[in-house]
Subunit: 465 residues, 2 copies
């Protein structure tokens, strides 16, 4: 008999129908006469209850039905008598596809998240991580659907790169050289001519620069791929390997860019609310009791937009009036700390905030220079709990201004020729931003540690699985 997924059985009312269900045992309980088996197949957070009359089944078989075992059950779909349950299955045949011993690491309930991380290969079978990764899938779908509906093209920028000019962070080196036999030239420099690519290469920190090449050809593109930072940051918000989404749009100015960012995040959150109800309700109950409220709040409210300069004034005022004590000082020119961002979002405005026009010294070389000579057309989207969730800007489209800034910052020009060509041949205004995918998942799931929203986190000294 062809199996039916549990998500479909639970919404079916074809009572009396013979069905086949397959899945893993979450619990078994019962009396001498009847056993109740809660079965889950990953298609939904909800289990289906299998009712097995003890007299119908071999004792040895029933003994094998332990937590974690894999079963195939043929039976009759019946209406459940239990409160809050929909359908259940009256078992006719049970086959144990795979037994599961007492050393099953997900045996006990209520293990810590740290324990789960050490068993990341099995945590996928728990309620919490099942919910997180079903939501993660849905957020990826929302990303693609949002951009596709708006005529953007998904663009694969390279992972291995020979350029290190974005300067977003420390990079991992990629090599095929035999480290036991490193040839060096007369000056003592390692000879990379026999490395795979004939020169030093690294893992990308951002696809933006290549994304700009595509936007100035295809009009509107987005990237969605892994990016890497070799930073020794052992915090709940940093990963060495994470997924990033970077849209880039020709002819968009910073206002279009802000509209796009706000529409985009609201679309994703709305998608979660519409498509992940069961998983969100579980997380709202078990992980973060204000989750649903916060998600609805983001969807229902306009983001506040103000300049960095205005933001600093509010923060200075708050400090001066004693409304808030900040650990780090506030002054024009400072790179805002998380406490500053969260004060604006959580206490002052009580809404998501988009800050624009930051001092050029604290932003990247490619951002469009304002006429004041001091600020650039940067924009950061700040969220409750998360802080910065999106960073972006209108890009400097003037070849001369861009080259001047590159020289000012001493960025090596040799690998930049292709990027500068966009400003040389038919340049145009354009804008884009980057969203760390895991930051979005943190926000949408209410999870607190970024290692719990990516299947197999890569962090300092940890590359298990």
């Amino acid at each position: 008999m062809k199996r039916t997924k549990i998500v479909d059985l639970l919404s079916s009312t074809e009572y009396g129908k013979e069905v086949c269900v397959k899945g893993w045992v979450r619990t078994r309980r019962g009396s001498k006469a009847v056993n109740f088996i809660a079965l889950n197949d990953g298609s939904t957070i909800k289990n289906i209850q299998v009712v097995a009359d003890v007299e119908k089944f071999d004792e040895e078989l029933l003994k094998q039905i332990t937590t974690g075992a894999c079963l195939s059950v043929n039976g009759t779909l019946v209406e459940s008598e239990g409160a809050g349950q929909s359908s259940e299955i009256q078992a006719n045949e049970i086959e144990v596809l795979g037994t599961c011993g007492a050393d099953y690491p997900m045996q006990k309930k209520g293990q810590t998240f740290e324990y789960m991380r050490q068993h990341a290969h099995m945590r996928l079978r728990t309620n919490t991580f099942g919910a997180v990764f079903r939501i993660r899938h849905n957020m990826a779908m929302a990303v693609h659907q949002f951009f596709h509906e708006r005529g953007f093209f998904y663009f694969h920028t390279p992972i291995i790169t020979a350029s290190d000019c974005e300067g977003a962070g420390q990079m991992f080196q990629v090599t095929t050289k035999n480290l036991y036999d490193l040839k060096k030239d007369e000056e003592g420099k390692i000879d990379y001519s026999d490395d795979f690519f004939g020169k030093t290469t690294s893992l990308t920190v951002s696809g933006q620069l290549e994304g700009e090449l595509a936007a100035t050809a295809l009009g509107a593109i987005y990237t969605f791929g892994p990016t890497f930072r070799a930073e020794n940051s052992n915090t709940p918000r940093h990963l060495a390997e994470f997924w990033m989404i970077e849209p880039e749009v020709a002819f968009n100015d910073i206002h279009d860019n802000m509209d796009l960012a706000e529409d985009f995040i609201k679309y994703c959150v709305r998608w979660a609310l519409n498509n992940c109800q069961d998983d969100l309700e579980f997380l709202n109950k078990m992980v973060d009791k204000s989750l649903l409220e916060r998600l609805n709040f983001v969807v229902d409210n306009d983001f506040v937009r103000l300049t960095y300069t205005e933001g600093i004034e509010i923060l200075e005022q708050a400090a001066k009036e004693g409304k808030k004590q900040f650990e780090f000082p506030v002054y024009w020119g400072v790179d805002l700390a998380s406490e500053h961002e969260r004060y604006l979002v959580e206490e002052h405005f009580k809404k998501p905030v988009i800050l624009t026009d930051y001092p050029k010294e604290i932003k990247a070389f490619y951002m469009k220079q304002n006429e004041d000579g001091k600020t650039v057309r940067a924009m950061d989207v700040l969220f409750p709990q998360i802080g910065e969730i999106i960073g972006g800007s209108e890009r400097e489209e003037s070849y001369d201004k861009l080259v001047a800034r590159i020289n000012e910052l001493g960025i090596p020009m040799k690998d930049m020729w292709w990027y500068l060509d966009t400003r040389k041949f038919g340049t145009c205004p354009h804008s884009g931003f980057g969203l760390g995918f895991e930051r979005l998942i943190l926000f949408v799931t209410g999870m607190q540690n970024i290692r719990d929203v990516i299947p197999f986190p890569r962090t300092p000294k940890n590359a298990e699985f």
Copy 2:
């Protein structure tokens, strides 16, 4: 005025409306009285014609309207009088956003693909590569939509990995070690304890093993991410960095797996036929005149399914009867060469072919062992022109058989504990396959070189852009 994309203007019949269009000049021609400017913004392969009465515009301005320049045009949408054209724009205002000099590398038409590869940052602005990368986007959408509709979850397997047990090919090493100061222990071995991850790490060759972890928890998953092979293969079909799609499904046997693979490819090809008509027609005209015919053929025909053993018999027969001379000998046990695969597909069956049950010696350790002791439940999907487009199998679910095979092959067990746990705790039958995304794009676009269907190809000695 808010700009409208050219794809929308060309399908609009709101003649007389004032519109704004922005894009890059493909050509300008004209007389003393009137100029015709073909403008493209990447939203479609079609240009919109801008008609500029010479007397309305400054001579200096018109001189700047050269191939590659970027314009913003306000004008009136009018019905085109030219044959085969729809709408055009009678220009009222023209602004040159970016000029373009005679050194523009895409100036001349009819450059070779090799020339285009050297200017991969600008080839995106040409008709051919615009078409290829719009189709590439559409194929990615089709992939996500196909699996989403069927209740699969998109699963991000790690890029940086400490395991090298899949054995699919040579790997790139990932390190943060200072290669000028490599500490070694007493035995002369490099000490990796101070490397970022505290041990040697590489770029993944496949997400399958982690995908199996997810499938035996979430039920049905797929990966879609970059994979890497450090092989010194300078051929039109190999890349060092490419994107791979790997679905994995609990409870699927090899027949379900074949159905899934066939449905999947047909869905993608049908998506292209339904959503990329203009681009496909262009490629069919300019790149490969049998393209549309071949795509329709795949959608309209069932794939032939037979065993490897049956396939070998057909090939041996063909060789014996002199129907075909093969360069490489055919015998049971041989790893089929491209000429063999293409004979079956293009000459014998004249249909896509799925071969199953290969000799275990030429397939990976994790494939389910048949009872004959000689073959495994492998399946390869063979396509015209491409050869193998999909490779997959039912997986060995028996812990004991899997361990025996691993020992037989001498694969180091130390990094395999987490994989083996899937067979230890509630094992179940499951199946999956891998599709090289660029192989699919080659098939759907009719392009001949894999370097022309990924934006910035990574190949031996080449990591430009």
